[in-house]
Symmetry: C2
Subunit: 358 residues, 2 copies
Amino acid sequence: MAKATLPILTNRADTLKYEDGIVQVLDRRKLPEVVTFVPCRTYEEVAQAIVDMVIQGGPPLAYAAGYGLTLAARQFKGLAPAAYKAALLEAHRRLRSTRPTAGDIHPLMDTGLALAYRAIEAGRDAEADLRAYVDGQIQAGDRAARLSGKYASELLVDGDRILTHCFAGAALNYMLYFAVEADKQIELICTETRPYLQGARLTAAQAREIGVPVTLVTDNMPGYLFYRGMITKYVTAADSITLDGHISNKIGTFQYAVVAHQFGVPFIVLGYDGPDPERPDAASIPIEERNPEEVFYARGVRTAVEGIKGYYPAFDITPPQYVSVIATERGLFSPWNIKQYFAAPDPGAGGAGGQPPR
Amino acid sequence: MAKATLPILTNRADTLKYEDGIVQVLDRRKLPEVVTFVPCRTYEEVAQAIVDMVIQGGPPLAYAAGYGLTLAARQFKGLAPAAYKAALLEAHRRLRSTRPTAGDIHPLMDTGLALAYRAIEAGRDAEADLRAYVDGQIQAGDRAARLSGKYASELLVDGDRILTHCFAGAALNYMLYFAVEADKQIELICTETRPYLQGARLTAAQAREIGVPVTLVTDNMPGYLFYRGMITKYVTAADSITLDGHISNKIGTFQYAVVAHQFGVPFIVLGYDGPDPERPDAASIPIEERNPEEVFYARGVRTAVEGIKGYYPAFDITPPQYVSVIATERGLFSPWNIKQYFAAPDPGAGGAGGQPPR
């Protein structure tokens, strides 16, 4: 059995810490060269760190927002109950609206606020209750990432050349890790993922550390690689999965899915903890449009001429007809019956799912 | 009638000059901020300028190579006929192999070499004959660009939002120019075109100068724009057109063509002077693979982590089923009958084509 390493963006507790009065957020923008944390001392600083892409990816930014609300519960602890609740409601509004597309942040924030209200009403420590809740969410999220990656890895075979786009998070790390542990000979081809270059930096560095050969291409190249038969699987995460099987993910995911479909290459979505219960269809996914100025730069250097407009939709939507399979912590699902996820055994509930595989 | 401007990359004589003993090549890498010429005093310097992307685009780099051979004819003028021919043959080999994908360079260099041999055999000045030949090719190329752009512009309608990729050259400028002159309300959306950023720099600057509103997106975004119905036409050039209707163009052209096809958006190819007579099919197009290191940088700044591989195919191939129409100097052709181009009246021959439109 081959030996693989699990790199830093695998266990969320290594990248996000709640210390008394400070949320420490690993600065993903500086990875892999520099491992440094941005200390946030107010919920507003957490919100700003999320907006500024210090932390990225649906689950991680949801956990950061959860700790932000925990910090708010600490900041406003001295207030009378009504004012305390009002302050938390404002913190909830601010943190919840930092990044609109990813689905995880909304239920986590809503449940967190309800817990805090109940703690205040019962005279309990809202900060402690929130912290315990977010800690539990992170643990559950780590399990979802591991199982989602495990089930996806079982679809991989010797000789696979896997295209991935952006950074698909801990589940991608686990998928590659389990494949290497199982001695599968695979290669990863990653897009650089403009304008933030998550592929050229995060994905490439994580795969290299796991021990999977990585080849980098620019975002205009995957189509030709499909044409040449150089891609055998296409794998990404999803910032949101709707109940009717649409997935939203980093801008570009859709166009590669269309070409994969043309060439009969399966598109495997790392679905973590399944679809978003409150999102029935594509129309229910708000697509975040970021500052157009960001497309004019690469790592701080101006790449475009002056005097033009830019457009920066940060995510796109891929309809179910382009998705082959969604790998979740409860197993593999077709996008066409992803709603069955909710009826499947929950491996974390001690039910039929039993112990997570390793 | 609206007033439009024709910017610098329209007339090739503004960008490439043969002065006695020096080929002056406009440095496109520094446009639009700086207009400066790279002086080449030997054919090897011309070859290196082509390899280094000082000049880009199928026809322009063919003309530069032609002047490079002219320069060689000057360099080696003192040699005896056999040695002179051998030196020109070596210059021809070097210049002809600088960029393998674009189709124009090969016939131009082969005809140029034959002309030079005939001049040497007849005791005429090979440099003068070559210069006259290349001058004529540039004039003919300018006419092809103008007519190709003119015919493409006639396909545009009010409200068109045109996606383009890389820089489609003088024909694109003419297409936009004629559309503006005809008071058509159009917009251009251009991809930045990594790694060299021709779209973010050349295309964006040229369109801005012509007076067409330009929006820049990164190379992962067009798919979503098609999905949202934001693109009504897709227009690129072609570095090579085969006799069976395949087109080769800047890497990325193909993946956008596939998505355009999915959404029923027409793909208009600016075909200049038509297909390459010596290329019957896709297999006859060599795809240039450039130094993989180039995908790790943007404008000289490292964008990728260390310790990984890169891959840089510079062009891709789009089969005829994804091409709607090819606009050439002899009119519009389906890719399925592009061979008819050779039977169509030649507007430059004083025949049925008559005067070029304005």
